[in-house]
Amino acid sequence: MSLFLGALTIGLILSLLALGVYMSFRVFKFPDITAEGSVTFGAAVSAVLLVQGMDPGISLLAAFAAGAVAGAVTGILHTKCKINELLAGILVMTALYSVNLHVMGKSNIPLVDAKSTSTVAEKIGARIFGQTTDLNWFGWEVSIRDAGMLISMFAVVAAAALILLMFFQTNLGTAIRATGDNPQMIRALGVDVDIMMILGLAISNGLIALAGALLAQYQGFADVQMGIGMMVWGLASVIIGEALVGSNKQGLVVTGTVIGSVLFRLLVAIALRWGLNPNDLKLITALFVFAALVGPTIGRSFMNKRGNQPSGRTV
């Protein structure tokens, strides 16, 4: 049970990462690999603050801000310095590796003793359930900490998704979406598309860093390596989410992305339980994303041969 709860919680935390990837990859069609550095950056900043006894909430805000700065730098490199999208991301990601080491001072910071979001979540859990001992859910023993964390993460993710969706309906949000959809058009309507892209990537990486910070606080440590493979992870969630909702209505896709992230984490947990070698995890994830990217194209050409019109969207 705790394995299941753990998978759900990590799935929820990483859905913030998925939302960030959705923003860069789907809204802007920008393959932003800065994500890999931002995850660790967020974790590092919040871990250092927590160790110094700072409030967990403030540490999360700081993580978001740190990620936003990283994203903005990638945006500036791409729009103002005309550096290719991937390369801009790679440059910032690489630079962040050193930055993260400097922030943390060492390659790993344990957070077990620090007052973190999990501590807060434990208190929330205790208040909700009115007890501090283990809970009994459908015959399973559940620690109050796990239950509290799951509920808190659900609340955080729901709030983040809702705020993001609401933001997309504002004048600024629609301008950002239009920038990804048709930059020529929105420029002709008086919007500086460079600024929109920088802002969008800042929000995207802010969310991703927030995911990193929460992940570090949940698992009890921040590690300089924890960002590796995160971009593909986020992509997998977005793709599963889109397949689940089968629509490109924004509200549905954002919800689907969150569900996709949780589902993907559960699948991984099950696979690991069944004896999947953890070393193969990233390979499997990459293969999965590959299949999801290529699948629709192959399916479509197959359909075309049978005389049907393509209906899927390109990835």
Partner: protein, 270 residues
């Protein structure tokens, strides 16, 4: 008032692909003028439009609009004064966003965009009314993605968007060239209606001599980056499409003569 003074633009200067796209072009439009630009392919008519829109910064010369010197303004800044419709019907709208959202983007042309709802109640009712004037039945499909509409419908919407906030200058870049004849007629009728209703100062590039003759109060003909003829006032009144075609033919012949003379000289001297 739009004042274009001696603007020039050379693409790929110093290379084998060097193109003198605009050479010392000057035009002045008074408020409410509707200028049609015609010309052969590569004559610089679209380049002139793009120079005004700010797609690139001109090499020399000056452009001023409504008292602002916009010569060095970036495109998005000029958009506060200029409404624009592109040749490609896909260029003027955001395909995955809804009709209502696209119009809401246009309702903020050149204005600061903050955290207010893009589609507030007032705008929603206003855009329903204004879309109804298109007579395309789109007022019931405000929540549909623009990508699902036909080229003609998208172009009509782009036109509505470009003129939503009365622009100081409206730029139309062969905006019916990619449409079927029926849609093209519809869009032209709408163009005329909007321009006359709002008395918009307009610059329109077209390939169609029909449109050139039937619309606007002035025609300029361009060739090789220069204005070679300007029909205005009384001359504009009497002009027929045959006259314009004749003029084109003249240009073509003169060019052939040029080529032949060059060959002749080459044979004699080289």
């Amino acid at each position: 008032m739009l004042e274009i003074t001696n603007i020039s633009k050379t693409f790929h200067p110093g290379s084998v692909n060097e193109v003198f796209a605009l050479q010392n072009v000057s035009v002045t439009l008074n408020d409410g003028d509707f200028l049609i630009i015609i010309g052969t392919n590569g004559s610089g008519k679209s380049t002139l439009l793009n120079a005004v829109a700010g797609s690139f910064i001109t090499d020399s010369g000056k452009i001023s609009l409504s008292g602002h010197d916009i010569t060095k303004w970036p495109e998005h800044k000029r958009a506060s004064l200029i409404g624009r419709v592109f040749q490609n019907p896909f260029s003027g709208t955001a395909p995955t966003m809804t009709i209502a959202e696209n119009l809401s983007l246009a309702a903020k042309r050149g204005k600061p965009r903050g955290f207010n709802w893009a589609l507030d109640k007032q705008l929603q009712s206003e855009l329903r009314d204004r879309i109804r004037t298109l007579n395309m039945g789109l007022e019931d499909r405000l929540g549909n993605a623009i990508g699902s509409l036909s080229g003609g419908q998208r172009q009509a919407l782009t036109l509505l968007m470009a003129s939503w906030l009365k622009p100081d200058l409206l730029l139309l870049d062969e905006h019916t060239a990619a449409l079927d004849p029926k849609s093209a007629d519809q869009v032209i009728r709408l163009t005329k209606e909007i321009i006359e209703r709002d008395r918009l100062t307009t610059l329109m590039v077209t390939h169609s001599m029909q449109q050139a003759v039937h619309l606007g109060n002035r025609i300029i003909m361009m060739h090789k980056g220069q204005i070679i003829h300007d029909y205005k006032g009384a001359t504009r009144q009497g002009v027929r499409s045959e006259d314009l075609l004749h003029r084109f033919e003249e240009v073509r012949r003169r060019e052939q003569v040029d080529v032949r003379v060059a060959e002749l000289l080459q044979r004699m001297y080289v």
